[in-house]
């Protein structure tokens, strides 16, 4: 188990390799379809994302007396952001993306070029992951609707697996190729 602590840096994520199980402590910014489309259209980010990690997640957030509480926060399917992700890496300097299902060739290329990694969280594990969120410091673009907004989350030992690294390796590519080969034999 590798620990990745805030502040994150390109240098630190360059050391990570496919298959590494990582516990992230620090800050994450949620961002899913609407946010990626918004940034892709050239709108300025309401918060500086340099050296930050974007989490593909539409959390369930409850308003409480002293702020917000995240009651469910698993990853959403990342591939939907494939058309936009490389650009967000290039223009905003993020060093990591957390999601599920993996991403494609464009993102893999961008990970290599701009120094970022793709972390896979366990899809559906909303409660386990919500437990690792210690507090919510802010919310941006709330007008996009609660699941689509950018939530600034503080996390402790958030469990993920590196499935795409900054050296051109992708577990998703490997599994896809081997399962297709297996299927040929089984048909």
């Amino acid at each position: 188990m590798i620990e990745l602590n805030y502040p994150f840096s390109q240098e630190a994520v360059r050391k990570l390799k496919v298959g590494d199980m990582v516990l992230i402590t620090g800050k994450l910014f949620t961002g899913r379809d609407a946010v990626h489309k918004y940034l892709h259209e050239g709108n300025p980010s309401p918060v500086n994302l340099k050296n930050q990690i974007i989490y593909h997640c539409g959390p369930v957030v409850m308003k409480e007396k002293n702020g917000y509480k995240v009651t469910a926060a698993g990853p959403t399917t990342s591939i939907r952001e494939e058309p936009y992700q490389w650009q967000v890496m290039r223009d905003h300097g993020i060093v990591g993306v957390i999601g599920k299902g993996g991403m494609g060739a464009k993102t893999l290329e961008a990970c290599k070029e701009y120094g970022a990694v793709y972390f896979h969280a366990i899809g559906g594990a909303a409660q386990v992951l919500a437990e690792k969120i210690t507090s919510v410091s802010n919310v941006y673009l709330e007008e996009l609707g609660s699941p689509e907004a950018i939530w600034e989350l503080n996390v402790e030992k958030f469990p993920v697996v590196v499935t795409m690294d900054s050296h051109g390796n992708s577990l998703h590519k490997d599994v896809e190729e081997s399962s297709k080969a297996n299927l040929k034999d089984l048909l």
Partner: protein, 328 residues
């Protein structure tokens, strides 16, 4: 278009983990409430249980799959987190997955039952469950992208009524997540690129193709609901209805029952594994049924359900709307 719901206080007092272990719902305090208020309370409880507690049959299948993965792999790590999540969601009475899905109701009712007033009660229960956090604000206008925050809107929730000859009311609920819905598939046979003809061998090919295409994106290990035949619309709906069957409940048609078992075994040799990390269990089960078709078409639909398999059901008294018995 979202209807404003009139505010009526039906506070479903803290419904601490009530259901789980017992099949029979504990008789509640003798406080008199109107049938409408009781219906809303029962429906909210069905939504809560569906969203937060994995059905027993699925729970068993997941635990068995966990035992089969090699320890210290990312596959077993994923299965461990799933099992922890199941426990945590139940104790905290919080959604298993943050995507609380498309809310799909099937209502089986005796003859003479009035559907329209019951739809209104369902809408109120959905709104309330959203406020309570059992459902995420999960319904978006497809044209404007707007989220009214109530889970009500065009076609939401999805409600199907079926008349049956029994006296009681049966409410079944499925919360179908978006990730697994996106990897669900439909084929028109013959499918030449796959060499899939209009027979069960062809059906087998397209089902396996759907699973390979899905990889880990549907949050596997998943369960497949399959319909052979039908028109495009009914075929997919019927495939989805198979997910109301209990895991392991084999088709009564011998050929389909054999195909169900064979598909599951074959999928688990593909090496896709939990979350697509590679590993032993790619799907937990395959449930197949059929519909007639017109001679010119041969549709096969595959509905993929994620491991966070949320479906429940309960019988309700037709007059008082009190919850009688859980189905899963």
């Amino acid at each position: 278009m979202v209807k404003k719901v009139t505010k009526k206080k039906v506070a479903p007092k803290k419904v601490a983990a009530k259901k789980p272990t017992k099949k029979v719902v504990a008789k509640k305090t003798a406080k008199k409430i109107s049938p409408d208020a009781q219906a809303i309370e029962s429906l909210v409880e069905i939504i809560r249980v569906t969203s937060t507690i994995i059905p027993n049959d699925v729970d068993r299948a997941i635990r068995k799959a966990r035992g089969e993965e090699v320890s210290n792999t990312s596959a077993s790590y994923a299965m461990d987190i799933m099992c922890d999540n199941i426990e945590l969601a139940k104790t905290k009475s919080q959604p298993l997955c943050q995507d609380t899905g498309t809310v799909i109701f099937y209502i089986y009712h005796p003859p003479g039952f009035h559907q329209t007033p019951f739809i209104k009660l369902i809408h109120k229960a959905v709104t309330q469950s959203t406020k309570l956090g059992y459902l995420r604000q999960n319904s978006v206008d497809s044209l404007t992208g707007e989220n009214a925050g109530t889970n009500l809107g065009a076609g939401h929730p999805s409600i199907h009524f079926v008349e049956h000859e029994k006296k009681e009311l049966v409410v079944k609920l499925m919360l179908k997540g978006g990730g697994c819905e996106n990897v669900s598939a439909q084929y028109s046979l013959p499918e030449t690129t796959l060499g899939a003809g209009r027979d069960l061998a062809g059906v087998r090919k397209v089902i396996l193709d759907a699973v390979v295409k899905a990889q880990g994106k549907g949050c596997g290990p998943g369960v497949l609901g399959v319909c052979v035949g039908g028109d495009r619309a009914d075929s997919h709906a019927h495939a989805k209805r198979q997910l109301f069957r209990k895991l392991g409940e084999r088709s009564k048609i011998k050929e389909l029952a054999e195909l169900e078992v064979e598909i599951t075994e074959t999928c688990n040799k593909l090496g896709i594994g939990p979350m697509g990390f590679g590993g032993k269990t790619t799907i937990l089960d395959c449930l197949i049924d059929h519909r007639n078709r017109v001679p010119a078409s041969f549709i096969v639909s595959v509905s993929y359900m994620c491991w966070a398999f949320r479906r429940q059901g309960a019988t309700l008294d037709t007059k008082s709307f009190k919850l009688n018995k859980w189905l899963y």
